[in-house]
Structures are given as C-alpha cells and as structure tokens.
Symmetry: D2
Subunit: 150 residues, 4 copies
C-alpha cells in the first residue's frame, strides 16, 4: 500500500494515514490516550503545510512579529481504542474562523470505526504569548470558513 507521506489534500479536508507503533501503546494493551494528540497534530500540521503555510514564514504583515500556532482549547471524545500495528486515518476538516480563533474538527478512524472525535481551537501568538489575529493572506491560503463571531 502506498500513500503520500504528507497525506491526501481534498477540497475541504485532509486525510493522513498513520501506523500505531509500540511507543503509542500502554500497559493496558491499547493506545495511550495522550498519544492521540500527536496523531491529531500530525494531521493538522501536514494539512496546513500542504496549504502553503510554513512555520518559518508565519509573520504578521502589520508588525513584522514572528508568530506561532498555539493550541487554545480541545474537546476530545474517545470512542474506541486503537491497538499495536493498526493503520488509522486522521481526517482534518477545513478550519472555521471565529474572530482570532481557528477551529479544526478532526476525526480518527480505523476502517469503518470512529476512534476519536476532536474539536481543536488554535490561535496565533507572538513571542510574548499575546494573541494575534490571523493575517488575511493566511486565511485565504487556508481557505477557512468564517464562523459566527463570539
């Protein structure tokens, strides 16, 4: 089976295929709950990179500050556990922008089974950790949907 290393880019979502290795499991025999955050982050990272956003290029046009993504909030629903050697798929839906916050809905599946549902809010912060709005170019590149402000 061959698969793009960075996953498959679709018009409104991205899918990354990954393997479960020893490092992901714990003594209960299934994947340790905290490891799913790594899988989710790999999915978001590859999606955003394929959309043309690079870590070293994130800059604020107004101030010239160096900015970084930061996870602001997560809601995680664990449905079923993954096990060693299994192949899982991380689907990341197109981001929804609500003011300075960008929300990615993500889902991890194994075949037909849904293993995890997640809503991940990311923000842009400057080196002092202060919130910055997403530059318009980045919004355009990522094709994000405007959600309701709140």
């Amino acid at each position: 089976m061959s698969t793009p290393l960075s996953g498959q880019l679709h018009s409104d979502h991205h899918v990354l295929e990954q393997r479960v290795y020893f490092e992901d499991t714990d003594f209960t025999g299934v994947v340790y709950h905290g490891r799913y955050l790594n899988f989710l982050e790999r999915g978001r990272t590859d999606y955003v990179r394929l959309l043309g956003i690079h870590h070293h290029e994130i800059g604020d046009g107004l101030h010239g500050e160096s900015l970084a993504f930061a996870v602001h909030r997560m809601e995680l629903d664990f449905k079923k556990p993954a096990r060693i050697d299994e192949i899982i798929h991380i689907r990341t839906n197109r981001g929804v922008l609500k003011g300075p916050r960008l929300i990615f809905n993500q889902i991890i599946t194994r075949g037909e089974d849904v293993l995890l549902q997640a809503a991940v809010t990311v923000v842009l912060v400057n080196p002092q950790g202060r919130l910055r709005r997403f530059p318009q170019k980045m919004i355009d590149d990522m094709g994000v949907v405007q959600g309701k402000k709140n």
Copy 2:
C-alpha cells in the same frame, strides 16, 4: 525543597508537584500541548492510588471481570505555557459521578498562574471495551460526589 513523590492528599483534592524536562518541550520553546495530558494523568493516578485504588485490584463484584480505567472525554483550556525547568502543580479535585461516568476537574498552575484547566471524564471498561458501572466500594473509597445523572 522536599515533596511527597505521590503528591499531597487533601480532603477533597490532590496536588502533585512536577518538573518540566527537555522531553516535555518542543521547538517553539514551550511545553508541547500533548504533554499536559501526561501531567494530568500522573495527577489522577497518584490521587486514585492514595485513595486506595490499585490497577491490579479493580474488579467488578458482580461478574468478576477484570476492569480498567479509560479516558472517555476531555475538555482542555490552555491558558499559558510552561517552560523548561519550571515547577508546576497539578491539582485534581474529588471526582463527580454521573451514572457510569466519573468526572475529574483538574488545573495545572505555576505559582499564581493558571496554565491549564481540564475536565476529564473516565469510565470503567471490561477487556472487550464495554462500559461497566463503578463498584460501590470504589465509589466509597474515592469519596466521589454524586452529580446529576444525565
């Protein structure tokens, strides 16, 4: 500074002191968001152990099945980042029982600063992954509060 390795047990909560090491940080210079789940799990584990619940003793009086804790849902609000070498405190409040679900409110602080707020729902599952109610003895040992059923 001396501290109990398993943290301090209070009447309605538990506090675990931990250090941030290299392994916890990422290239942005702060703690990787996924690592906070390890800190939260260390806090819950030490709290539950000090309350007298042990991994190898969890059994269902009715069926004699071997049961295990599983994380069912998490809500995480990331407030401020921790950095290398810092000392953080993980506070775990007494669990609230809602039917088969046990909810722990947890907070990670660094001095006066709140770094993370979390609501973590755990359940008991049998080896086939099926939900089981918490045995009364475990409820009594953990001194959990009865929440509204839903």
Copy 3:
C-alpha cells in the same frame, strides 16, 4: 511524493521514510535525542512485519510459551540533528545472530547526511523475562546472518 506506509523491503535491508513533527522536537530547536529510539523502533518493527513475523504469532516451538522481543543493548552515535518538518530515512540492515542475541545495525539519514548510527541488540523473552533462543523458523523468515558466537 508517495511511499509505502510500511517502508521498502530490500534483499538485505529495509528503509522507512518518516516525517519529523512537533512532538519530536525540544526547546533547543532540534529533535530530542530520545525520540530517535522511536524512529529506530518503527523501522525495525516494519521490517520484521514485512518479513512475516507478527507480535501475536511469536511462539517457541519447544515450549509453546508466549514470547516477546526486548531490547537488550544499544549503541548510539548521534552525528547531526534533525529539525521540524524534515523527512528522514531509517535504514535497518539484515539482522546478525550471535547465540540468543539478534543485532540490527541501523542508520538514520536526511538526504546525504547521516544523522545517527545505531547497533541494536534484541532478544526474545518469555513472560517471566527469561531469555529464549530464536526459533529456527523465525531465523529463516528473517533471513538473518549467523555472526560469530560470543
């Protein structure tokens, strides 16, 4: 770029392509040294699986015991660091058998650069942690070379 998820199997070695993600880096800006052990383990695991050895099938023909691989010794030479987003290749050479020990020479590269050289000795242990010799069928399946006994 497309690549087999489980890497490429060659006559006397295996190559696995992997991406460096946030989780792999630390605050010094490069990959945390301990994470390379995950990359090495992913390479060995995929190699051994492609050779037809499965975790749930490892059994000792003589005693019917359930056996597991365990890492016995590692020698690691760190040459150059990898960084976020980079693509690295984990090459695992055909194992060399010395008595009950199986030695895999592994190398991690990024393009032309050698990042890490490793010699990893694995053994088979029973559930009580006692050393067992590799069954002949497993030796045959893995096509391992007989090294000098010592």
Copy 4:
C-alpha cells in the same frame, strides 16, 4: 515518603527518584525501552542544575556564543524491565572529561535490582552545531574528573 523534587546531591553522584506512569509503559506490559532515555535525561539535568549550571547561562567565555548540551553517544544495557506504578532511582555519577567530551555513567535501579546501565557522552555545541570545549568555569562547577584524552 518525601523526596527532594530535584533529587539528592552527593559528593560524587546524584540520585533522582521517579515514578513509572501509564505514559512510560507499552502494550507488552513493561516500560517502553525508549522512555528510559527520559529518565536518564531527567537525572542528568537535575544533577547539572544542582551543580549550578543553567541552560540560559551556558556561554563560551572566548566567543560569547550561546551553547547547548547535546548527546553525542550512548551505550545502554537493559537488564530488567520496570512496570507501572514502580518507584525507580536514577543514579548519575560525576562526569569524566575526555577532551571536548563529558561522559556520565548512569544506572537505574528498583530497590536492589539494576534495571539499566548507561554511559552517556555529552558535548557542547554552538547554534551551528559545531563542537566547543567545556569552559573551565563549568568544569570547575561540575567537579568533573579528567579522564584519559583520546
């Protein structure tokens, strides 16, 4: 049981007490081999900090460069596995200097049992990854032994 969070500083070694948590184990039921590198790093870090060396203070008196520790080589002998909930001790012996390389012998024990023996070579590198000799003040602060040059 109370223990200093940063471990105990002795005249020629340091001992750090740590707990094994879920995150450290894998599906085989014991601690994942790669996690021992975290325990070793925690021990070295706390030892070096107690000796007065801080990440943000490491500077080369001659060039004013910002320097960082990097792991250069590791030899690891895995003797026995640790399991969930166990308390382990990481002993780090006083460093031995050989030219630009500083070697720490480390041992992880559980009660009377030796779990892991390690020889860890660390070096100082500048931001371009080039090797720098340890400044004399750092050598003095760490009380390192002069080994045979090679």
